[in-house]
Amino acid sequence: MTETTYRIHGATGEWEVVIGLEVHAQVTSKSKLFSGADTTFGAEPNSQVSLVDAAMPGMLPVPNRECIRQAVRTGMAIEAQINAWSRFDRKNYFYADLPQGYQISQLFHPIVGEGQLLIEADEKAGIPADKIIGIERIHVEQDAGKLMHDQHPTMSYVDLNRSGVALMEIVSKPDMRSPAEAGAYVRKLRSILRYVGSCDGNMEQGSMRADVNVSVRRPGDEFGTRTETKNVNSVRFVMAVIEQEARRQVDLIEDGGTVVQETRLYDPDKNETRSMRSKEDAHDYRYFPDPDLLPLELDQAFLDECRASLPELPDAKRARYTGALGLNDYNAAQLTMEVEVFARFETLLAETATRLGKSEAEVATQVANWTLSVAPGVLKSLGDEAQLEYNTAAANAGILQMVDAGTVSGGQAKEIYELVLRTGRDPAEIAETEGLKQQSDTGAIEAEIDKVLAGNPEKVAEYRGGKDKLFGFFVGQTMKAMQGKANPAVVNDLLKVKLG
């Protein structure tokens, strides 16, 4: 396998960076991990807090089946070992956003064991070949609440809406060697989570955030001492943290210092990491099995249901797109990245194939080009003026059908689409009423061609003498004479015959 050649160029030579990521993904579920409270983002502070979440005296946690199910499905999606027997542990520490004084997590027996994830080659980004990134484990745990320091001059306020929401902590192996690989890993993981539906992947709202472990070493040496930068909330920042932190460590070592194992924070405004706490004053979390909860035992029926409920996953989908559908790598990659994109593509593909009476493979490339470049271009140019409720598969397929039949040109298709998005009118009616149709009547086109050839005898002679490039000239002249409404394919065919 071709390895990345990403290196930090230090004063004393080259350094390799070693990266491991712990991604915290908020589990998509209506209620919290151990209570019935709602989990909707953005509610009034402390409006989604049960007695359990507030850790009132005598309150007890009861596991939410749906959260467990989502973690298991996620584990299955990364081909991981699913542990039919797992257990919750308490991680003890005091903080105002942690009402119980402990977080219920899984240290000793996580629900998901080793798995893996594939990141695709991306020459431009510096990933020369496909690479498998190992995943150590996934465990389920409670999120903490949130402190607000800007509400009062001397006090901090606590919002417990997030307290007790289920998180999956997805821990990678230290398998990544460049910011690009880490970025690709986070994107791929996000994609899988969204395919599975176990996390909305919304990094701005904090539904997904990463702790970034970075160390540096001479290529091929033993691992160096790592630092952990907490709560990084975008792919761009993950990559920036790695660049900054690797650079900082190299400079430190080359200046005769040593890297301290510590927790750091990233400041996006200054684009730098800074120390939060070092190992010496690290918490002793006093983990022990939560005595309020029995071990979690998953039966075969539950596991079977989890597996049966998994959708086609990104790698399989991509393989099907390039294989059965015959799409090129680029289109396949673009289409399978986001759930919304492939969903739109697949609906339109089915609709178009049905209308044209063709197989999906026969129309896939046309639908892919429309989905990836034509349609987004029009949507972008219209901006807010586009009425998205008019953007139906039926309307899109109607346009593609006319393009396929040769009744409208590519340019006309865009104009029709624009009118569809503005007005919701029927594409065929628009083509008819607005005169957005191209001429495929061979008689009319032939007549114009004859005129063009007759008016340019020298050029005809030159072409026939071997100046092939002149073919475009005749096409242009004919189209001009037809006011751009002739079907170019028909024009081409007729010209070839006439010019013999």
Binding site: L51, M56, P57, G58, L60, V158, F288
Partner: protein, 494 residues
């Protein structure tokens, strides 16, 4: 007539209300009066006479209307102040929860109200249920109604359910709730000449009970006799989906199935419980118990519980470990005491609040628990203690292949004087030496009064049963009760 009502137990009151011999309101009124007159015992942290009267009035109205009555209809009870009671201060006898009024009702107390019981008040206890003498309460010691013959020295009512034991034995309440983590129902029951049963772990929901050690805490009834305990336990127990450790099993009709005939039953006598230094009068009471059960038809067999001597050390690792974590929520942030010194930050607030809010015994256990869970000690203490716990459970499993129930003393001594052991935590902890093994194994266990010692103080015998076999325990208790003829009660001095 009226004053006699307080001499009645649960069954007699329920049946008397049902057949119209007296009204539930009359019962509530006389017990309210007894409670009010017994301030010297300090058994209650708050009294709730209106709660008892309101419940009684509902029962009387139900009876008048011919509606069906619950198994505890018209019975006013005392509620250990470890159970959250909606709208009524719930403190766990601590300063840190002083003034805390829950907006929720614990499952067990709700079950009792649903069965027609009313509440006379919240009973004093050792702070956070940590103690064996009721000397650790922030609200002062509970005084046992018992006194040694010829002495006025104040005696310990046992702990942690000391308010419960005092109130039942002094006839302030016909019955009370207790909780048992390492003997907290059985030891105070033995000290005060009453009956108390800790059911199988998981029988009674822990939801709404202030947690001490989650893997051990179990609620149970404390009452005058076995029948009353059976009736009350039937009302308290039941599956609760809000407690993940709750047993999803039907609740048998224990009271209806009581049977003192022990023929065909084997009673195991654990040889390891015959410890050096045990009070000879305790050993004598044990022999009496053996004779009574034989008389009831049981076969007596010698059994071995070889890991018994490790039970107490294991308990004093596991219980404080869980407590150190369970008590972390009392931090001054959301409810209860907050001590915020001038200019203090969050850490200072935690330190000040917890220093002020917890008593010495609670702090001792939080510190022990924190220590045994800390990095580097976890394996040597906590994991080792868990291994011991497994061995203790196996001891019982093995023993129960040879016998149906186990008979042992409840405590190594009769009640001691207040102050006697309060400076010596180890001596205090040793008082639970016979009670702790059944707690670690999660087994049903009961204390039944069996007589008085030469000082006139009551002694108790302990019956331990197989998991889920409360019936077997209650039946053996009934056989002893019928033969012990225990009628002693404290002479009123308060």
């Amino acid at each position: 007539m009226s004053s006699d009502l307080t001499q009645l137990g649960v069954k007699a009151i329920r049946d008397g209300v049902a057949d119209g011999s007296f009204t539930a309101r009359e019962v509530a009124e006389v017990f309210n009066a007894n409670v009010a007159a017994a301030a010297a015992l300090n058994a209650f942290i708050v009294t709730t006479p209106d709660h008892a009267l309101d419940a009684a009035d509902r029962v009387d109205a139900d009876r008048a209307a011919g509606r069906p009555l619950g198994s505890l209809a018209g019975v006013p009870i005392g509620m250990k102040d470890l159970f959250a009671t909606k709208g009524v201060q719930t403190t766990a006898a601590s300063h840190i929860l002083e003034g805390f009024i829950p907006e929720y009702e614990s499952t067990v107390s709700q079950n009792l109200w649903n069965a027609g019981a009313g509440m006379l008040g919240k009973l004093n206890l050792d702070q956070f249920a940590m103690g064996s003498s009721n000397e650790t309460s922030y609200f002062g010691n509970v005084i046992s109604p018992w006194r040694k013959t010829g002495s006025n020295a104040a005696l310990a009512p046992g702990g942690s359910s000391g308010g419960s034991s005092t109130a039942v034995s002094a006839r302030l309440v016909p019955a009370a709730t207790g909780t048992d983590t390492g003997g907290s129902i059985r030891q105070p029951a033995a000290f005060t000449g009453i009956t108390g049963i800790k059911p199988t772990y998981g029988r009674c929901s822990r939801w709404g009970i202030v947690a001490f050690a989650s893997s051990l805490d179990q609620a149970g009834p404390m009452a005058r006799d076995v029948t009353d305990c059976a009736i009350m336990l039937g009302a308290m127990a039941g599956f609760d989906p809000k407690d993940a450790t709750s047993l999803d099993l039907p609740v048998p009709d224990w009271a209806g199935s009581l049977n003192a005939d022990m023929r065909g039953k084997k009673v195991g006598i654990p040889r390891e419980y015959r410890m050096d230094g045990t009070d000879p009068e305790i050993l004598k009471s044990w022999d009496d118990g053996i004779a009574w059960l034989k008389d009831a038809g049981a076969e007596v067999v010698d059994i071995s519980l070889p890991h018994t001597k490790y039970a107490l050390p294991a308990y004093y690792i596991i219980a404080p470990a869980e407590a150190s974590s369970n008590l972390a929520r009392y931090d001054g942030v959301r409810y209860g005491l907050r001590d915020l010194p001038e200019g203090a930050g969050l850490q200072d607030m935690y330190a000040a609040t917890r220093a002020d809010g917890f008593g010495d015994e609670v702090k001792r256990r939080v510190i022990i628990g924190t220590y045994v869970l800390s990095a580097g000690f976890y394996d040597a203490y906590y994991n080792q203690a868990q291994r011991v716990r497994t061995l203790i459970s196996q001891d019982f499993e093995n023993a129960f292949t040879e016998c149906d129930i186990i008979l042992a003393p409840t405590t190594p001594t009769a009640a001691f004087a207040l102050g006697d052991k309060s400076d010596d935590p180890l001596a205090m902890y040793l008082n639970d030496v016979f009670a702790v093994p059944a707690s670690l194994a999660g087994l049903p266990a009961m204390s039944v009064p069996c007589g008085v010692n030469k000082d006139g103080l009551p002694l108790g015998l302990q019956i331990v049963g197989k998991a889920f076999d409360e019936q077997g325990v209650l039946n053996a208790g009934l056989a002893i009760e019928g033969r012990a003829g225990f009628i002693a009660k404290p002479e009123k001095w308060w």
